[in-house]
Symmetry: C2
Subunit: 349 residues, 2 copies
């Protein structure tokens, strides 16, 4: 924890509602979260985007030129635009002028920029994006990873996701011995596709995590698992489906609740309760995904993020920084890296 | 269509609530759906399971011995228990004593029994389980396949799923030119894992279906797609997640709506509206998955099915039979099987 205020670099130019909503979220985060915000982007556009430009004096604006557009191929675009906002934001972390990056821009570009400029943590083959979902049990969220960084995975990648997710669950979400599940199509260890079968075995042999078995689709939100690992294809489909399904449920409520005279009266009485329901179902409350495995705290927010999402993303970044998630993942690998040396020489002899 | 009543063989012994709930659903289906029910199982247990055993005289009971248990390996168990209820039910279709099978038992065993006893339709490499989901647009459901039959798929399997799903959508759900989507992690054709990339190309080249592009997780329930194809791993995770998430939403409603005095009053006024909401969110309303690609109509219901699910599964079976889904899938392949002969000889020359 300590008394150091987290310095958060926010990509002001990335996302469907950039820069206005990003700036609004950044201003609120600076005012309420006890963090130091560095807003990265075109100073003119940033100034023009807010009705209260004078408020901008409360935070630092770091100039950048251009942004990576959604259609662009990440690596090429990052090279062509070295001063693009996401590149500049990552550089701030690299140069230790910031502790974390928040971006709602091109997620592939954010990931590539993080890899290029910050590099991977030792022991991690592939970074993963973790998403925190609320579950049936209030106050007991689950972190699912990967939700989109790696579409084709090998078993050891998923094992690393399990380690990183466990660290996050333990040190940010406060779960003492996080229960890890493998997303699969049945409870039995004999179930699953080739990747799931081989990963199951690896996870079972890993003594550093608490693997409790397969998690089916229906178990994701049950609250029985603290960490669920899967490849980035399945995870991304699930994440986007989950976000949309909350909206479907809210729409069904909007259509059905006010039907009829009793319906209209009842619905008007329930306004505050419906607001709480909306909060529990709305993905904007959850801020964004954490890119785990690169040497810096990076929050990848939704392209559709508005001010509340950005605010929550900054809070997520602050929590990851304050709780030293990266150091703890790294420490985990420093320790376990020594163990295999012993056991593999035993195997060899 | 015609005047022939569909003859539906129901596996009375399969499922968590067998035989009582299965028998209850079967009796209701026989009474209300204009079908002829053949109840397959242990006559004593069937008789003991219902408070109105006299009602059983309205339908035919076909004796069977034992059932495939959830933990059993399907192929071995089916061979060891030739008189198991699922085997007997499939035999009834094979011998043309029934037109369709409904089972809530071991889904792997139902699939294997269908393959062994009924065989595949010509042109189909792998049967798929299709699940019909309601969408944001009322009255415009989407069929998703495969939701569990094939965990590791090749692109041509998914192409066949697209054809079978289109036939189902057109002739059972009444959509004139079903829009087909490929479940993927982005809209662009360059997005996806290896399977998705290669399948995208195949679907684009297939002139017999209306492929309109990738469907992301958020598009599944949007109503913009009539058919969505994916491998059985992703599809199964999605199906089970979707079913559970409806329950999560209902639980959030149950917890939050009656809070406070206004909440209690408002909720009591909304009782009928809440019942409609429950119906729209509850998966029991949707009956079960259709096993497409085998030479017989097979509905694979949920293990947790109770009477309403079985009733809806029988309705689904009747619709598939009445609308001659199997013949139409087959016809599709008989036609298209001739086309490639011409074009491939053109390519060769």
């Amino acid at each position: 924890m300590g008394s150091t205020r987290a310095r958060i670099a926010i990509d002001a130019m990335g996302g469907d509602h950039a820069p206005s909503e990003i700036v609004a979220g950044a201003l609120r985060a600076q005012a309420e979260l006890g963090v130091e915000v560095l807003l990265v982007g075109d100073p003119k556009q940033i100034a023009a985007s807010t009705p209260n430009a004078s408020n901008l004096s409360s935070l630092e604006i770091v100039p950048a030129e251009g942004t990576i557009e959604m259609g662009e191929e990440p690596l090429g675009a990052l090279r062509r635009k070295p001063k693009a906002s996401i590149n500049v934001a990552m550089e701030l972390v690299k140069k230790n002028r910031a502790d974390a990056v928040v971006s709602a821009g091109h997620s592939g570009a954010a990931m590539a920029a993080a890899l290029l400029r910050l590099g991977r943590l030792k022991g991690i083959d592939r970074p993963a994006i973790g998403a925190v979902f609320p579950t049936m049990i209030q106050g007991k969220p689950v972190i699912i990873l990967d939700v989109g960084a790696n579409v084709d995975c090998r078993p050891k990648f998923l094992e690393q996701f399990a380690t990183m997710g466990s660290v996050y669950s333990q040190y940010v979400l406060g779960v003492s011995a996080p229960k890890v599940g493998l997303l699969n199509i049945g409870e039995e260890s004999s179930k699953g596709n080739d990747l799931a079968l081989r990963t199951h075995q690896l996870l079972q042999e890993n003594q550093a995590i608490s693997f409790i078995g397969n998690a089916e689709g229906r178990d994701v939100l049950s609250g029985h698992f603290d960490v669920i690992v899967c490849d980035g294809f399945v995870g991304n489909v699930l994440l986007k489906f989950a976000e949309a399904v909350g909206e479907v449920a809210l729409q069904i409520l909007r259509e059905e609740l006010p039907q009829g005279l009793h319906g209209k009266l009842g619905t008007s009485l329930l306004k505050p309760n419906l607001k709480r329901i909306k909060q529990r179902m709305d993905h904007a409350e959850h801020g964004g995904g954490l890119l785990l495995g690169v040497d810096g705290v990076c929050i990848i927010s939704h392209g559709s993020s508005q001010a509340p999402s950005i605010f929550n993303a900054v809070r997520l970044a602050r929590e990851a920084f304050d709780n030293r998630v990266l150091e703890r993942i790294q420490a985990n690998y420093d320790e376990t890296n020594q163990l295999p040396t012993v056991s593999s020489s035993q195997v060899d002899s």
